[in-house]
Symmetry: C2
Subunit: 683 residues, 2 copies
Amino acid sequence: MSDTTAYVVFTPSGRRGRFEVGTPILECARRLGVDLDSVCGGRGMCGRCQVLVAEGDFPKHGIKSSPDSVSQISAVEEKYASMRGMKVGHRLGCSTRLLNDVIIDVPPESQVHRQVVRKQAEARDITINPVVRPYYVEVGEPDLYHPSGDFQRLASALKLDWDIELQDTDLYVLRALQTTLREGDWKVTAAVRHTLGKYDEIVGLWPGLKNRLFGLAIDTGTTTVSCQLVDMASGEVLAVAGAMNPQIRFGEDLMSRVSYVMGKPESVTEMSAVLRDTINQLISENCDEAQVDCTDIIEVVMVGNPIMHHLALGLNPSELGVAPFALVTNVAVKVYAEDDLGLNTCLGARAYFLPCIAGHVGADAAAVVLSERPDLSKEITLIVDVGTNAEIILGNRDKLYAASSPTGPAFEGAEISCGQRAAPGAIERMRIDKETLQARYKVIGCDLWSDEAGFDAAIEPTGVTGICGSGIIEALGEMYLAGILKTDGVIDGDLAKKYDCVQADGSTFSYLIREGEPEIRIIHSDVRSIQLAKAALFAGAQLLMDHMGIDKVDRISLAGAFGSHIDTKYAMLLGMIPDCPLDKVRSVGNAAGTGARIALLNAQSREDIEQLVTRIEKIETAVEPRFQDHFIKAIAIPHLDQEFPNLARTMTLPARSEKEKKEAEANNGISRRQLRKMRKSGG
Amino acid sequence: MSDTTAYVVFTPSGRRGRFEVGTPILECARRLGVDLDSVCGGRGMCGRCQVLVAEGDFPKHGIKSSPDSVSQISAVEEKYASMRGMKVGHRLGCSTRLLNDVIIDVPPESQVHRQVVRKQAEARDITINPVVRPYYVEVGEPDLYHPSGDFQRLASALKLDWDIELQDTDLYVLRALQTTLREGDWKVTAAVRHTLGKYDEIVGLWPGLKNRLFGLAIDTGTTTVSCQLVDMASGEVLAVAGAMNPQIRFGEDLMSRVSYVMGKPESVTEMSAVLRDTINQLISENCDEAQVDCTDIIEVVMVGNPIMHHLALGLNPSELGVAPFALVTNVAVKVYAEDDLGLNTCLGARAYFLPCIAGHVGADAAAVVLSERPDLSKEITLIVDVGTNAEIILGNRDKLYAASSPTGPAFEGAEISCGQRAAPGAIERMRIDKETLQARYKVIGCDLWSDEAGFDAAIEPTGVTGICGSGIIEALGEMYLAGILKTDGVIDGDLAKKYDCVQADGSTFSYLIREGEPEIRIIHSDVRSIQLAKAALFAGAQLLMDHMGIDKVDRISLAGAFGSHIDTKYAMLLGMIPDCPLDKVRSVGNAAGTGARIALLNAQSREDIEQLVTRIEKIETAVEPRFQDHFIKAIAIPHLDQEFPNLARTMTLPARSEKEKKEAEANNGISRRQLRKMRKSGG
């Protein structure tokens, strides 16, 4: 303590070392490899290196730490605090000098590699490991006697201050370089993109200090496109915007879009263009909401099924429409967001497309894997991402399988007589009184059940508009539990004599959920649509289980908008998913979008998923004869010969006679035609 | 000889080895590292691996070699010869199998790294070391059971057959990939660009076998733009096209173009666009002449002075118009020829710009260095590249200096009353009869002198149109030798009394070269223009000699269109260049264009010049007081105080009295103003 050095311990890292008295805390942190952020390189401008000086005795370290262990608050800190504000007790690491032994705490927001906490239980936090970071530098001015290019002096400053080694630089950087340098009076912030173990590139350049940069995680679904605007330093989602996929005008489902392209190859450009326009609209909405300039977006991650992936890149998807469903490329693709895709971002922003797994299992499935990481567990996880198609992933740390199953759009409320997308006014929950067979229900946007007082007023002005995917699942499940729906998927016409809610509908019967305007009912063909969809899903899962040689799974994750609304119990009751302890069946929300966000924020995750997809075994349902067999048996409710012991422990399942099963088996004959039809349109 | 192996010796490499009988000669060559070309990878399609089987006894090797030492002419060879033709005695290395000990000669045209012989004496041959090469592969077809992208199977084939490791691939390659693969029935040729020690990239892809690829060497001068179309395998120049630089409409000289941009920054785009259009016109002319498809151009090299370099890249050159003349970048720049520059080439073709040396010494000077390689010799070489400005390079293997000197356009015939560019009809040679003072001359495009019989008829229909740069130099030199021109640059008015060809012209006198229509004469201001230009050139050279601490040079190379027409003796007589043994003064033609071609054909040369320019010391004439002093003294003819002993040994130089010298010194006062004017316009 009497010499000219002092000892500093950083928490929470525990890194420690002895430095000359007077050394700035930021400098100590750097030399010890402590994760303490800085954009301005220690000039007291960015405020990223804020630390806390611990106060008290720390016998473990033999240190008595106090605010006096470091230098007094400097003029630089006062200026920063007055301009940008600073929490009490916070110090700028670059302006605070070591005086005596001290304990310095680096709060999470001052760490580059901070954690983004995911709300969902069991989900791992996202560690920020930036692909692009801002670096402030002061560039040497040109000298007539020692001529050198402005770019070389910028590169030298980045090397000297930040140890950044630039490679070839793109023309757009050079074109704006001289103006930016002079506008910033030779002080600029460069956004530098780091490709792991390879090279550094300038993505953007701004005069002066630029503290915040942004990224986009874009999920291009068949039906909807969603776009998250993310703060690249904090990982915070600043805005989320969504829209219908404008390509719907070229075909509702994927295969009709591919057919359109096959007939008119030049339409690829048109289809890419309308998608681009929609994404730009979403970017604009995001930026307006978060008060962000779109030219500060320096990285984009895109996910989507293979056909959407191809169309987003301007690649003709025709080959994906016919066997052997050849992808143009199955590895991750990195392009220019502005120049290659026409997105309104920083000129140098790159768009990273996650790898596709197979011709039917796309970058969206890869994103789901990245979000859920089934490869990190010994337990066997079944992940089902239900959109217009269902992506199914099965496995554990030893082995992973993936398949796409042609469920069609029924789970999204399409092809259902009173169906609609999940939106305010849609029935999402339902219960049937076993005595009266009357339904009561809840609609999205209202907390009351339909039989509670004030319901009619509460749902104004939207009213009840239809029934969404999760509502249909519950409706059919409740109908099955109440004996209205039989195991063969037929609405029991005998009940029509006793109950008003069961009504003849041509040669079949329907079940009335709600009278009035609009009237909501489930008709025979609604049940058939859901049966076919859920059979495809179940059969796909079973096929992967066959390949893995297992007959039960340890966990099930339901992903997608549908999966996030559904009561998992009903999904199992209906035979959408195999039996599993119910507490191990989780809704994981928009896992593809989350995976995209992980890839946006964490450079290592890209390497991980690029490696991981090469280990995933792809199963093509179209060429597996077993799939057809599984499918036929899965049409019955819940299934012709599968048992659901875990479900049976939580509710009383209707008993099924052998006669009933036989009827169900006989009825399935009708579905082979429908199966072929689904294959054609479902992709 | 009795075992199952045989011995093969390749000439001229001398590489030798023993292989199993039956091994194809191409395979032997590959395993021995013999430089034997192949595009098709040994499938008998490309004909690049042709070899000759030596016949006779070779006691040195203990081999009796004969056509029977290898397999008979195969069906594949017969087919190739019938379709494409083959010289007698030539064999396809891939189809010819080793039977017995043999000597195999690899002719130059079958070597990848063949030499391109340069006509000019002393010039080193260009070794072809391709940046881009074609590789034919047969790609695996997609497999439903083992899904992989088409690109991955292409990459695998390139890896397997050619050991090529592809990195990230550009979108334009992916967009055309599936169509090309299927069009070629899974047989394609990829043009792969190799970046030394770094990575391989696909530049273009064609169905089937693609044997020939092309490159462009483009020299964008202030006044003219020239474009050479080169066969990338043979190095042959297939076509040369040239045009006026269309930017002349924005300003005749560089500084007026920069002024234009300063006043209207958005005009950079316009100036780049007109240049692009002209280059595309030249490409089109080249391709028409050589019957080449422009999409088969897979590499471009561009050179030019710093301002042209910037404008070609769409970089605002304003900073080059004012001290400290900051370049945007001084290293080599690699961009996309089509996407970044708008040139009509293969979509993936890159355009490589040689590095600029300083704000006034550009990529054209770097190209001259690459052509002449003064750094490889112990002798001190002075290189002068005379265009609108003069680039001057001085040095040897120990040290190199470079400067740009503001000569103005007088050497190109501009600012001369009867001046014109070097073109048919322009006077390029002149002699003056010492008795009559009558001139006789030769014009470009005619082998006769003007006093020879049939001259008038021979020059029809062009006639005599003016006098070009080299013609003016000879005219002034001859006038000086004949005593018409005095050392102070004044035409001797006393002679007007005796000779008709010396005539009063206001307060000064002129010399009549030719009567009639058009009349060609040299007037006082013509002499002044040339004096200023040659003084700038001489002073620049002298400044570099000062820096190097030398008072004479070992060799002089005159480059540029002007330098290639000039009689070097007259250049020295007029004091354009310092004294030097006349047999060491050479015209080296369009050295910048040659340097561009070297960079196009030889990958290593790019590394060499990129390294070399960092070692060149840049001298800024504008800030060297000595330059002004040297300039003033160099205005006299040939010089106020320099001696030309080497020149004096080959011709009788006029004696100069001290009075004459004094007059010359006094007269120079007028030139300080003109010097300032030149600085402003010359850049």
